[in-house]
């Protein structure tokens, strides 16, 4: 967790880039939302041991959501990721555990909604017509 401000208040730096303290009254919802995105990525990258996930987990461990009162469940997940990162020993329970914590947060934030879809196929394109049922084609005419 890097808490060092990247710039000091300085006349050269426009106001947009000056470090600003977070208003604690407004912090909670954003923190929760940061956390569920972070957990979703932990869950995804620890699925099935794909090698691409290893470097992603390392990035996630180095870019933890930045808040002070870390809930216990989150600490458990972080501990597991650190274990994976330190030992490079894949842990198949990481994904279910982060999914469980993720669901707890989602249920808290979105009480009316069911658990998240596990693997959405979201290619920003319409799904392929897997059944090939695009109407009646008369004859094939190709000798097949």
């Amino acid at each position: 967790m890097n808490k060092v401000p990247f710039v000091k208040p300085n006349n050269e730096i426009p106001f947009f880039f000056q470090v600003e303290e977070r208003n604690p009254d407004n912090a909670a919802p954003q923190i929760d939302y940061d956390l569920i995105y972070w957990l979703e990525q932990v869950r995804y990258h620890s699925l099935n041991g794909a090698s691409e996930g290893a470097s992603s987990l390392l990035n996630l461990a180095n870019n933890t959501p930045n808040f002070e009162n870390v809930p216990q469940e989150w600490l458990e997940v972080l501990e597991k990721i650190n274990g994976v990162v330190q030992t490079k020993k894949y842990d198949p329970t990481l994904s279910p555990q982060s999914k469980r914590v993720l669901n707890q947060y989602i249920n808290r934030l979105f009480p009316q909604q069911a658990e998240p879809e596990v693997e959405p196929m979201d290619i920003a394109l319409p799904p392929v017509n897997r059944r090939l049922d695009f109407g009646n084609v008369q004859g094939n005419g190709f000798g097949y």
């Binding site: 990247f6 426009p14 880039f17 099935n48 989602i106 979201d122 290619i123 090939l132 190709f142």
Partner: protein
């Protein structure tokens, strides 16, 4: 190779969405693709800049910048935004370089508002990512292949959701064979999976959305799409040269491990039933590949150009072309995905080679007890595949990690040598061998006509080769 729509004899329903001559803004799904590619390119470029900065703080400040209210004087508002991007830090200069032309291009307050909205959305998207939205895959010899993943929306009232897919420079052989395998998988009582795909051929001016629907692109759209895909390629891998392959595939990204990664990370956690299921599944897929002539996956064959004969070989299997997905529960079945599909290119260019392969397949399917020989060959290729890849991966590790990797692979390697494994593979091969007749029967009925039409139009050589294979089944059955 590819026939244009004008040349084809296809009936109108096949190309239900002709858009020739319409301006790019009316391209429907293609417009959506253009927007998506635009976003991926923007996010990747911004992510590259953020790598040189304190990511979290910079994004917060960007979000603040883009929430600056705009007044009625557009020039004044532009100047305020540009001033917000000034500073002595190098990444600020890069950020300004990125946004300056966009800000200056705004003609009115509405344009500026749109830009602000888009930029704020991009900043928030990047805040949720600790990884690059676009990463170059180092697997496979062709490509390049890029893995895309970024949050689909930024609205904190909606559950987290990600866009994820693969962009790969490939060829019609892969797309046609993928569609073919998808059809085959539906004819089977024990399905394997094939990732969904759409494609872009900027040389032919085709955006193939599904195997039943495509847009014919007009020049403006082709130019715009080319700019985006080149931009994406360059943003992710500046050193990359112009790809040899020209068909750009957009493929479903499967959350699964290839067989090598699965063997050393997941295999040990399978139940006995799931282990058996894995080998039966590999046996089935190997038999289907053997039949079609998909030579770059499990079972290996060799062509002797002098005698013009094919024979079984024990070269290493390509373990990267099978993905395995373990379910969360032990009692649920495994999912096997056939990826990077494609028949041996020699079958399209060398008819003698293709005929030899037909004879080779016919012989294997006709003779009794060939399954045992095939199983032995497959096990040897799998063992060699694991061995070769372990050397390759282990070579990049330190000594301790290398030892650990070899230890993790042991259970899989030991099981490969067991009689029960061979029996499971043989069972899978026999099952697929029997099911080939079902596939053949489906191939000849109405349900396959659309795919045949599709292949006839896009890659008739592939249709000819596959039809030739099916005619072998007739001979085998009658003999």
């Amino acid at each position: 190779m590819i026939k244009t729509v004008q040349e084809s004899t296809l009936s109108a329903p096949f190309f239900g969405r002709e858009t020739v001559g319409l301006p790019a803004t009316h391209l429907g799904e293609t417009q959506q693709l253009l927007n998506t590619l635009d976003k991926v390119q923007r996010l990747t470029q911004l992510d590259n800049i953020l790598k040189k900065a304190n990511r979290k703080t910079t994004i917060e400040k960007l979000e603040k910048l883009w929430s600056t209210p705009i007044n009625s004087n557009v020039e004044e508002s532009k100047a305020t935004l540009l001033k917000g991007l000034e500073g002595s830090f190098r990444f600020l200069a890069a950020m300004k370089e990125f946004y300056k032309p966009r800000i200056e291009a705004a003609e009115n307050c509405e344009d500026l508002e749109k830009l602000k909205h888009q930029a704020a959305e991009d900043a928030t998207t990047l805040r949720f990512l600790s990884d690059s939205p676009l990463t170059k895959s180092h697997r496979g010899q062709n490509g390049p292949t890029f893995l895309v993943r970024y949050p689909a929306q930024n609205d904190s009232t909606i559950k987290p959701h990600f866009h994820q897919y693969v962009i790969k420079w490939s060829h019609w052989n892969e797309l046609g064979t993928t569609r073919l395998y998808d059809l085959f998988s539906k004819s089977l009582s024990f399905p394997f999976h094939v990732p969904q795909a759409s494609a872009l051929d900027l040389h032919q001016g085709i955006h193939e959305i599904t195997d039943t629907s495509r847009d014919n692109l007009e020049l403006t759209a082709i130019e715009q799409l080319k700019q985006r895909v080149d931009g994406i390629r360059f943003a992710a891998a500046p050193e990359n040269q112009e790809p040899k392959d020209k068909l750009i595939l957009f493929i479903e990204r499967i959350a699964a491990a290839n067989l090598f990664d699965f063997a050393h990370k997941e295999y040990i956690h399978l139940s006995d039933e799931q282990m058996q299921e894995l080998y039966v599944g590999l046996g089935r897929l190997a038999m289907l590949d053997l039949f079609t002539g998909n030579t770059d996956r499990l079972i290996q064959s060799r062509y002797d150009a002098a005698s013009k004969k094919f024979e079984l070989d024990t070269m290493q299997s390509n373990l990267g072309n099978v993905l395995v997905q373990r379910p969360q529960k032990l009692e649920e079945p495994l999912n096997l995905y056939a990826i990077d599909n494609g028949l041996d290119e020699r079958f399209f260019s060398d008819s003698e080679c293709n005929s030899s392969y037909n004879a080779f397949v016919q012989e294997l399917l006709s003779r009794p007890n060939e399954v045992n020989r095939l199983t032995t060959a497959l096990v040897a290729s799998l063992q060699k595949g694991v061995e070769v890849q372990a050397e390759e991966v282990g070579g990049k590790m330190n000594a301790q990690e290398d030892i650990q990797l070899k230890e993790q692979l042991k259970p899989f390697i030991e099981d490969l040598a067991k009689e029960s494994t061979k029996s499971a593979i043989a069972k899978g091969m026999e099952e697929m061998s029997l099911q080939l007749h079902q596939i053949h029967s489906n191939w000849n009925d109405e349900s396959s006509k659309p795919l045949k039409q599709y292949l006839f139009t896009t890659y008739s050589e592939l249709l000819n080769v596959v039809s030739g294979r099916f005619s072998i089944l007739n001979s085998v059955r009658s003999s």
